[in-house]
């Protein structure tokens, strides 16, 4: 049915990206949640009632009008911390997601397009990283690195989060390599670099974006996990560190469940927003998923 093929082509090419993310209800919700976090992060200094580090308040208070989420063991306002923590959590999530995706893209594209020994070597490296369990590796590397800070976290999570993406992207490259238009470019005389960037990469963009969202979820959760285990930078303020301190100070024992629950909930929400936004990208790649 040629009309169906034409409809698909039209969908893939005619797409208005803003509309795309909003048309699908799931991704619209994801976008709204994500943008809310972005707004909170940017306007944190104006939204937060107090300075997050200020230990001026009575410690271990439950929720009250002055402190909606109560106070920590050293007298900091939890709500302010949560608001300010958005910055770091969001930043780490996005940057790490970006770096991991970039590595996946480079590895996947090179390995897939060049093939041969290059492919074998790069795939062996990828497989090694795939096989080693992520969390233990993160813990071990963190334990060894002396300098603790945001960039350490970013580095460590990126290092462990790119392998899966590299494999998926490589498979896609292998498929695209066999498309006639790639062969046509070869026959025209294009260089490999040009073919990779101009023919192959743009045609897998939606997969790369989907990969990015996946990596971002992984990054957000890993960062929280690392901080929670105390392997991060405990002097920084992120949702993960809040959780760390909550656990350290036996928040639940004191009945201050919101100290732990709220950051945890936000971490989950941010991760979910990425997953939701991913639905729109799925539909870009496969128009048949669109609701009738």
């Amino acid at each position: 049915m040629s009309s169906l093929i034409q409809e698909q082509d039209r969908v893939v090419n005619d797409v208005n990206y803003v509309k795309l993310f909003f048309k699908n209800r799931k991704s619209a919700i994801g976008v709204i949640i994500f943008l809310s976090f972005v707004v909170i992060a940017i306007f944190a200094p104006w939204i937060a009632p107090y300075s997050p580090n200020s230990m001026a308040f009575t410690p271990l208070q439950g929720p009250s009008w002055k402190h909606w989420l109560g106070t920590t063991a050293v007298g900091q306002d939890i709500l302010s911390q949560v608001i300010w923590g958005t910055r770091l959590s969001l930043m780490v999530g996005l940057i790490t997601g970006g770096i991991a995706t970039a590595i996946s893209v480079i590895m996947g594209l090179t390995s897939g397009y060049l093939g041969g020994i290059t492919d074998d070597i790069l795939m062996t490296i990828t497989n090694i990283f795939l096989v080693i369990p992520g969390l233990p590796l993160i813990i071990i590397i963190s334990a060894f690195i002396v300098v603790k800070g945001v960039w350490t976290i970013i580095f460590v999570i990126s290092l462990t989060g790119w392998a899966w993406g590299a494999r998926t992207l490589r498979s896609q490259v292998l498929t695209l390599k066999n498309r006639d238009y790639v062969k046509a470019s070869v026959v025209t005389g294009e260089s490999s670099a040009h073919i990779i960037f101009s023919d192959i990469f743009p045609n897998m963009l939606s997969l790369v974006v989907a990969n990015f969202f996946g990596a971002a979820v992984y990054a957000v959760l890993s960062e929280a996990g690392l901080e929670f285990l105390g392997l991060g930078d405990s002097s920084a303020i992120s949702w993960g560190t809040i959780l760390y301190w909550a656990q350290n100070n036996q928040a639940l024992l004191f009945g201050l469940w919101e100290w732990a629950a709220v950051p945890g909930l936000l971490i989950a929400l941010l991760g979910m927003s990425f997953a939701l936004m991913n639905f729109a990208v799925d539909e870009l790649t496969n128009p048949r998923l669109r609701k009738r």
């Binding site: 093929i5 893939v12 006639d180 025209t188």
Partner: protein, 330 residues
């Protein structure tokens, strides 16, 4: 094949061989896709290469255009031998002379590139015209390829074009570098019947105007007859018959050519359908018999056919057959 001819050979193949290795460790098998092909194409000539799937015709084209590296044999471009393995610069220079039109108009154009971009690339890579003149040249080529109005088509994406238009873009892309030889790999088999002729006519017009030669690959004997000056028939990687188009079609010599002719649809020759009795399947290219590959299905097979692949025999000035039936005719 002929030296001392007035018209130069644009391309000449001598004993071209192409093998593929398939299978994993320990179970490697060799696919003998092309088994010693010889032919030459002159300037402004169309050679039709006819065969069914598994005949090797597409592989021959891909080897000539260097999408695959030949396993053996020689390829001469304008009388000069080309190395089997070429470096990038040699390849780019080669590609200015030898281009290709692909079969599937729906996958031979990058869906994200406009027609203008697709046609600009070959002009840039091969420095056909200076930068300022590129767009003008593209519009010129579009017009030559029958894509009207050129200015509108320039900005279109492939999905906005019909199959026929996309194929014309493919033709335009091939003609852009002003090549001497274009390999057309079944360029009309995926198009609607009513536009096939126009595409073929377009190709023939370009042959006259631009002086380009074609290797026209097809499984459709009638189409080959229409387009080609000479026709070559392939079976299981071997060339079994080659000669002037009219001769090969009207009086086919090789039993396989005769079978192809019988099996082809012939609505014009009355409504009594010809019965085709020949059974069997195309041979397994990883396990070719030592003799003539068509022997198992040949109604005229003799014991000697099993022993070795017959030599090409000349039965007329420009007509050759690879069959023992004619071994005394040369």
């Amino acid at each position: 094949m002929e030296t001392g001819q007035k018209t130069k050979n644009v391309i000449e193949l001598r004993n071209l061989v192409k093998e593929f290795r398939i299978g994993g460790i320990g179970k490697t098998r060799i696919v003998h896709a092309v088994n010693g092909i010889d032919f030459a194409i002159k300037e402004r000539e169309v050679l039709g290469l006819v065969g069914e799937s598994g005949s090797g015709k597409t592989t021959v084209a891909r080897v000539i255009v260097r999408l695959y590296e030949p396993t053996g044999g020689k390829i001469f471009l304008n009388g000069q031998e080309t190395p089997l393995r070429m470096k990038h610069r040699e390849l780019v220079s080669y590609r200015k002379h030898v281009q290709m039109i692909f079969q599937d108009p729906f996958s031979s154009l990058n869906p994200l590139h406009t027609v203008g971009y697709t046609l600009t690339r070959p002009l840039k890579i091969h420095r056909i015209v200076p930068k300022e003149k590129i767009k003008g040249k593209v519009l010129e080529i579009l017009e030559e390829a029958g894509l009207m109005p050129p200015k509108q088509i320039y900005d279109k994406l492939p999905y906005e074009l019909s199959g026929g238009q996309r194929q014309r873009v493919g033709i335009a892309r091939a003609i852009a570098v002003q090549p001497q030889l274009i390999l057309a790999d079944e360029p009309t088999s995926m198009l609607d019947v009513s536009i096939r002729l126009d595409i073929m006519n377009q190709m023939l017009d370009l042959k006259e105007k631009e002086g380009v030669s074609y290797l026209f690959i097809t499984h459709d004997l009638a189409g080959a007859h229409y387009m080609s000056d000479r026709i070559a028939i392939m079976y299981a990687g071997h060339l079994v018959e080659i000669g002037p188009s009219d001769d090969v079609i009207n009086d086919p010599k090789h039993p396989y050519t005769q079978l192809l002719k019988k099996a082809a649809p012939k609505p014009e020759s009355g409504l009594e359908p010809e019965k085709v009795d020949v059974g069997g399947e195309v041979p397994d290219l990883t396990n070719l018999p030592p003799g003539c590959p068509f022997e198992p299905r040949c109604p005229f097979a003799k014991p000697e056919c099993k022993e070795r692949v017959p030599d090409m025999v000349r039965i007329a000035e420009d007509h050759f057959v690879r069959c023992v039936l004619y071994k005394n005719a040369g």
